[in-house]
Structures are given as structure tokens and as C-alpha cells.
């Protein structure tokens, strides 16, 4: 398989087919996993080798589906660009959709750049139904699927992969945790890390028809994972032996919901904290994190002694206490850094509101500064 960038593929494709391929490689996000887009490889031509290029008119399309990647051959004819494409569905030789149920094939419009992408989406829907049909070979899995289907929270966002014969790949059900969809927008995100869409997918693999070996996995988009505190911050429970998906999936969703709610609350609390400090210290605020509200720096003066206070708020604030770092503006350490002291233990209660925290912090500053000043004079150098 030769990976190629979209630009290379577009350069090699026959000019009449270029608009169709352009929308596939640039806007081609299908299925539940919208972070993975469609990929094109193995670009070839149906013309003779004497035909001058670009004249490629057939390629392999890689489609993410239910944790797998479908590899479909799409075959055009450069000499007949007006004709609709033909497909080879890889190893799924038995997949034969009904042409009349593919509207964009029935009314194929070679002049519409979106036509191919829409046709691919329709084929994937048909493929999903084909996989659901194959589930009927196993009564247990069919039961799991039907039970989830009845629940409107999950039924609309599921992908089924019924596995392959003589292969270690078992049956798999992948679904979107619906609780994520509604609350994604309220999470603060670092868009520089992941400007893409947010997605949380729960993949449950059944290695045998009796569901004795079930392996769940949770896939989060990078921004969500970061917002929740990294991959180690979240652990989903194991699938209970003899359990059912209809019980397990809501359990996982609830766990995630609680986590997200906690993170959201923390965000609001941090914002409140910063606002209170801005109110109390006014012109003493040097800078603060206006997006995530995780940092704040103050420039204060006590008896002609100026000093900086850096406040770092942890992810699970207010459960975890903010860290205060006092820094002298006059004194340096031997390593050339400004003399500073870190304070993690000071009067604090997570039950205080932001205003109270600001007041208490102010009082603490007054009590600690003489000690800090002495330390700066004693250990630092001008």
C-alpha cells in the first residue's frame, strides 16, 4: 500500500474526475469516527501505458468503520468520465447492496463534486445493514445489538462489524457515548492541540459468540483526553462476566458524564477564583489565563518590598489546593533565577467560595511576606 497525500492524489487523477476526488479527500469524514478522514491509495489507470498523464481513474479508498478500515476499490473510466463508478468491496465479497437504494447512484451526476462522497456514505449505510444482517448468525450478539437499538440514546449512533470467518477478529460493536455529544461544547479546549471534532467512542469486542471474552475500549479525541487529565485519568470498568451491554454501556456513560461534569465544575470554580482575585487585587494583577483560568500572577508591595505571587490552579480544583509561588523582584539565586519560595500548605478549604479564598489568600500574604523577605535577603543576592 502506498500512502499518498491528497495533493499527490489530486495531481495524478484524470482531470475530469478531479472534482469528485477532491471532495472525498478534503471533506471525507464518514461514520462515527469523524477524526479519521477518508484516505486514497493505489492510484492506477485503465488506459494504456502509452496514454500521457494524468489519467488515473481507479484507486483504493480507506474508510474507517467500527474500529476497522474498509478498503474499497473505486473504478472509473477516464475515457467515459460521465459514467458512475464501480466498486469492489474488498474482502466482503458477499456484500451486494441494492442499487435502487443508492439515490446518488440512481441519479449519478458527474458534474456534482459531492456525488461520489454522498454515494460512499450511502454505501456505508448499506454496509452497516449488511453487517447487522450477519449478526443474526449469533443469537447472543443479536440480542445485545437489538437491546441497544431500542434505546434511542445509543441506537442512532452504532457501527457493527460482524468479524471475518477464519480470522482472529471477532465481532465488534462500536457506539458513541451520547453524553459526550451534548456537553462537549462547554469544555474548555486548547484548540492549538486539536482543532478537529470531539468524539468519544466505546468499542466492545466479542471474541466468541457466547460473550465470555469481551473487551471494551474507550477512544477519546485528543482535546477531550487532555481536558479530562490525560489517558491515565480515566479508566472504564471491565465488562462484567455474564453482563449485558444494555447495562454496561449506561454505566460507562455515567462514569464519563460524572468525570466531565466534575471537570466542568472545576472550570467554573477556577473562573470564579480568578474573578475574585481580580476584584481584590485590581491593579496588582500582572496576567492571568483567560481561557483555562489555570494561572494568575500578582505584583504586590509590602513596606516598599515588591514581590510576585504566582498562583497555579490544578485540574481538580477546588478539591486540590492551588499552589502559591512567591518570587522576589530583587534577589537572585546562584543559578541566576529569581529567588522564590513555593507554598502548598496554607489556610484553605474547598468549600469556600472564590471571594473567601481571595480574602484568605490576602491575609496569608500579609503574614508570610516578612518571612519571605528575610529569606530573600538571607539566601538571595542582589
Amino acid at each position: 500500500m502506498n500512502n499518498m497525500s491528497p495533493e499527490v492524489a489530486l495531481h495524478r487523477i484524470s482531470p475530469e474526475l478531479r472534482p469528485l476526488l477532491c471532495s472525498v479527500v478534503r471533506n471525507g469524514r464518514v461514520g462515527l469516527d469523524s477524526t479519521n478522514c477518508l484516505r486514497v491509495t493505489d492510484l492506477k489507470t485503465g488506459c494504456t501505458s502509452l496514454t500521457p498523464g494524468p489519467c488515473c481513474d481507479r484507486f483504493k479508498l480507506h474508510i474507517p468503520y467500527a474500529g476497522e478500515t474498509l478498503k474499497w476499490d473505486i473504478i472509473f473510466n477516464a475515457r467515459y468520465p460521465e459514467l458512475p463508478p464501480d466498486f469492489i468491496f474488498g474482502e466482503d465479497a458477499e456484500f451486494l447492496p441494492e442499487p435502487s437504494e443508492l439515490p446518488h447512484l440512481v441519479q449519478w451526476d458527474a458534474g456534482d463534486p459531492e456525488c461520489l462522497l454522498q454515494l460512499v456514505k450511502e454505501l456505508i449505510q448499506q454496509y452497516h445493514q449488511y453487517q447487522c444482517q450477519r449478526l443474526r448468525e449469533s443469537s447472543r450478539l443479536l440480542f445485545e445489538y437489538d437491546s441497544l437499538l431500542e434505546d434511542p440514546n445509543y441506537g442512532r449512533n452504532m457501527e457493527i462489524y460482524a468479524g471475518r470467518k477464519n480470522s482472529w477478529v471477532g465481532d465488534r460493536i462500536v457506539l458513541v457515548c451520547p453524553s459526550f455529544i451534548s456537553i462537549m461544547s462547554s469544555l474548555s479546549q486548547d484548540t492549538a492541540l486539536d482543532p478537529g471534532e470531539d468524539v468519544a467512542l466505546l468499542s466492545v469486542s466479542f471474541e466468541d459468540a457466547e460473550a465470555t471474552q469481551v473487551f471494551p475500549k474507550l477512544y477519546l479525541s485528543p482535546s477531550i483526553e487532555h481536558a479530562l487529565g490525560g489517558s491515565s485519568a480515566l479508566h472504564i470498568p471491565a465488562f462484567p462476566s455474564g453482563g449485558c451491554l444494555i447495562d454496561y454501556v449506561p454505566q460507562v456513560c455515567q462514569l464519563l458524564t460524572n468525570k466531565v461534569q466534575y471537570v466542568i465544575q472545576g472550570y467554573h470554580k477556577r473562573r470564579e477564583y480568578i474573578a475574585a482575585f481580580l476584584s481584590h487585587f485590581g491593579m496588582g494583577v500582572v496576567e492571568y489565563d483567560a481561557e483555562g483560568f489555570t494561572k494568575l500572577t500578582l505584583l504586590l508591595m509590602w513596606k516598599d518590598f515588591c514581590f510576585l505571587v504566582h498562583v497555579d490552579l490544578p485540574l481538580y480544583f477546588p478539591r486540590d489546593q492551588p499552589t502559591l509561588t512567591f518570587q522576589s523582584v530583587y534577589h537572585f539565586t546562584n543559578s541566576g533565577q529569581l529567588y522564590s519560595q513555593v507554598q502548598k500548605s496554607y489556610p484553605y478549604s474547598p468549600r469556600w467560595d472564590g471571594n473567601e479564598m481571595a480574602k484568605r489568600a490576602k491575609a496569608y500574604f500579609k503574614s508570610f511576606i516578612p518571612q519571605f523577605q528575610e529569606g530573600a535577603f538571607a539566601n538571595g543576592k542582589l
Partner: protein
């Protein structure tokens, strides 16, 4: 269950490949031939009778569609009218269809499966085959290409790959090479042959087409021989002409060589004296003004202009001037000698002059010895 096999003559396969090689896109068409079921019963004493049924598809011909989707649309629906139009002149039955597509896998596509099913329904033939040929480049530079071929039949929604046997390629059945048709005593066969035999066979029993082909072959051979003869004659003429040209060149070169020798003779580096010519000139033209110099002898006779030198040892004076004039010259010589003794300074010059005078007087030639000197000597006298 019947085991299907597809048999195809090598010429049909070659024709299919040739068609696609000359096409710049995928091609498709219909396959004509016959399909039959053969039952093979194996009788054995050791085990029960074994019956093997073989379904054989004999491909005999193919019809090319000049463009894609000629008899079907983009959804795979078959257009029966167009199909009948394609099959209008064909008397054989359709047993399937084919498609050739470059650089793709040896698998039926989505639309091919749909077309196959629809074709079966349209032609009311549940036993149809689909022949797939997939040429591809074997080496990156494209120096070697390969064509894979396979046949498919459908059972329900499943499409089964059927082995294709190409006649004349590894299938050396004795029956395939019959030169004489087997005798048949059936009355029906005889009636059929009587009715239709004259269309295909001569009175001698040989195929008419074979005779026609042989005649065409003979004509072709005749034309080839004629062309060969013409070429041979032409080559011989060319050979002769080349020999003539070579001979002419040789003569030209020889003549050039002679001419150069003559030119060399006409202008020798040291011209030789032709005394006979000299005498002849003297005899004929001695008195001619053209051969007289401006120099006068003491007797006021002009000195003839001659080219001979003293080295020849010839007394030119005698020969030129004649005996009566020689005595005059002698006296003038005596006078000139006397004068030289009186003036020693000028003697040298005069001696030189006198030498030249002597030379002049003696030989009567030397214009280069200066005509002035000769004149001076004369004036002094």
C-alpha cells in the same frame, strides 16, 4: 453437484487480449458458445458406481461492444432491445459476457454482479458465465505485462470462480486435432449433411472455406514471389550501376593523374635548352624586329634578344650574327680592352662594365647586365 468448467479456444483468448490492447479503456462484450452437462459414470467392481456430472461451457466466439454500458445502464439494468440489436446477426447462443479492465483485482465488481444477474433474467438463462480479464504491468518500467483471466458463475448471491481451460494450451486431447471427421451412420445426420453440406463442403468432401483459404494463400505466395523477383532484378541493376560508377571513377582518377604529370612537364623547375628550336628561330626570325634588342653593335646592328647563356658553350655571336659580323665584334672588343687600362679608378667600374660589355658584345644577349652599360660602351666608341 455439477462441477463447472469453461473451455475457450486459444484464438478467442488471443482475440480478446488483442481487442483490449488496442483499446484505451475497459471493454466489455458478449460470449457465444454452448453449455452442456456431461455425466461421467465410473463403474468399478470395488466400489459403488461413481457418477460425476460436469458442466462445460464451450466458448466459441465473442461479440465486442464498441463502448461501455452499451447494453446496460449505470445501475446495471439490462436493455433488452439493445441486446437484441447486438445479437441480431448472431446465430449462436449467448452463454455469458466478458469484461476487460486494467490494473484491478481479479474480483467481480458490484455492478458486474448486478449486470450478471439481470442478464440471466433478461435472456432467461440461469447458466451464464462472466469472463474477466485483468491486464496489468508486471515490471515498473512496463516492459512486461500480464493478463489474468478467470470465469465466474453465480449460485444465488454467491459468485464462484470457475477454472478456465484454454484449448491447445496444455489440453492435448486427441479429439481436438481430428483431421477427418468421424463417420456417423445416423440417418438424420446424413439428411442434414445432404441438405446443408453443399454450403460448407466441396464435392470432394473438403471444406470450402479451407479451399478458399488455400487459394488465397497461393495467390499470396505468387505475389510474394513476384515481389521477390522484382527486388532481385532491382538489386542486380543497382549492382551493375555501382560497378559502372566505380569504373568511371577509376578512369577519372587516372586522367587526373596524367594531367598533373603533363602540367609538371610544361613548367619544369629548370627549363632545358632546346637548341634545335633555337636554331629554327634563328633561321626564321633572326631578322624580325621582335627579336631585336635596343642594343646596337658597334656597326649599328641591333643585337637580337636570345635566351641562351654562356654556359652552353655555344658561341652565340657566331651563330647569331653570322661570320661577317663576328670580325666587327672582335675589333670592338679590342677597343674596349684598351680603354680599360687608362683609367684605373673607373677601371673597376669600367672593368665591370667592360665585363658586361664584353659579355654583351660577345654574347649579344644579357639585358640584365644592363643595357646602360652596353650603351655606354658603344658611346665611348
Amino acid at each position: 453437484m455439477a462441477e463447472p468448467t469453461v473451455r475457450m479456444p486459444g484464438i478467442v483468448l488471443a482475440s480478446l487480449m488483442f481487442q483490449h490492447v488496442n483499446s484505451d479503456s475497459d471493454v466489455e462484450g458478449l460470449i457465444l458458445g454452448e453449455s452442456k452437462l456431461e455425466e461421467q459414470i465410473t463403474i468399478s467392481d470395488s466400489q459403488a458406481d461413481h457418477i460425476q456430472i460436469e458442466e462445460i461451457y464451450n466458448i466459441q466466439k465473442h461479440i465486442t461492444c464498441h463502448k461501455l454500458n452499451n447494453f446496460c445502464n449505470g445501475m446495471g439494468e439490462v436493455n433488452l432491445d439493445k441486446l437484441k440489436k447486438i445479437l441480431a446477426d448472431s446465430k449462436q447462443s449467448v452463454i455469458g459476457w466478458y469484461r476487460q479492465r486494467r490494473n484491478t483485482d481479479q474480483q467481480m465488481t458490484f455492478r458486474e454482479k448486478v449486470i450478471h444477474e439481470n442478464l440471466k433474467k433478461a435472456l432467461s438463462n440461469p447458466h451464464m458465465i462472466f469472463l474477466l480479464l485483468t491486464p496489468s504491468k508486471l515490471t515498473p518500467p512496463g516492459s512486461t505485462h500480464r493478463t489474468e483471466y478467470a470465469a465466474f458463475i453465480s449460485h444465488g448471491r454467491q459468485f464462484i470462480n470457475v477454472p478456465v481451460l484454454v484449448n491447445n494450451l496444455g489440453l492435448l486431447e486427441q479429439l481436438a486435432y481430428w483431421k477427418v471427421s468421424a463417420a456417423c451412420s445416423a440417418a438424420g445426420y446424413s439428411r442434414t449433411m445432404k441438405k446443408h453440406g453443399s454450403v460448407f463442403f466441396n464435392s470432394t468432401g473438403s471444406l470450402k472455406e479451407v479451399n478458399e483459404v488455400s487459394k488465397m494463400y497461393d495467390s499470396l505466395q505468387f505475389e510474394l514471389r513476384k515481389a521477390c523477383r522484382d527486388v532481385e532484378e532491382s538489386e542486380r541493376r543497382v549492382e551493375t550501376l555501382l560497378a559502372d560508377v566505380a569504373a568511371l571513377r577509376k578512369r577519372v582518377n587516372e586522367k587526373r593523374g596524367h594531367r598533373m604529370e603533363k602540367d609538371t612537364d610544361a613548367f619544369p623547375p629548370e627549363p632545358k635548352k632546346n637548341m634545335l628550336l633555337h636554331e629554327a628561330l634563328e633561321a626564321l626570325l633572326s631578322c624580325s624586329p621582335l627579336f631585336q634588342t635596343q642594343t646596337l653593335t658597334l656597326q649599328a646592328f641591333p643585337v637580337p634578344e636570345l635566351c641562351c647563356s654562356a654556359d652552353s658553350g655555344t658561341d652565340v655571336t657566331t651563330t647569331l650574327l653570322g661570320p661577317e659580323e663576328v670580325s666587327n665584334n672582335d675589333s670592338s672588343r679590342a677597343i674596349s680592352r684598351k680603354r680599360l687600362k687608362k683609367v684605373p679608378v673607373r677601371e673597376n667600374k669600367k672593368s665591370r662594365k667592360s665585363e658586361s660589355q664584353c659579355a654583351t658584345l660577345t654574347l649579344g644577349v644579357s639585358v640584365s647586365a644592363s643595357q646602360e652599360d652596353t650603351a655606354t660602351a658603344v658611346d665611348d666608341d
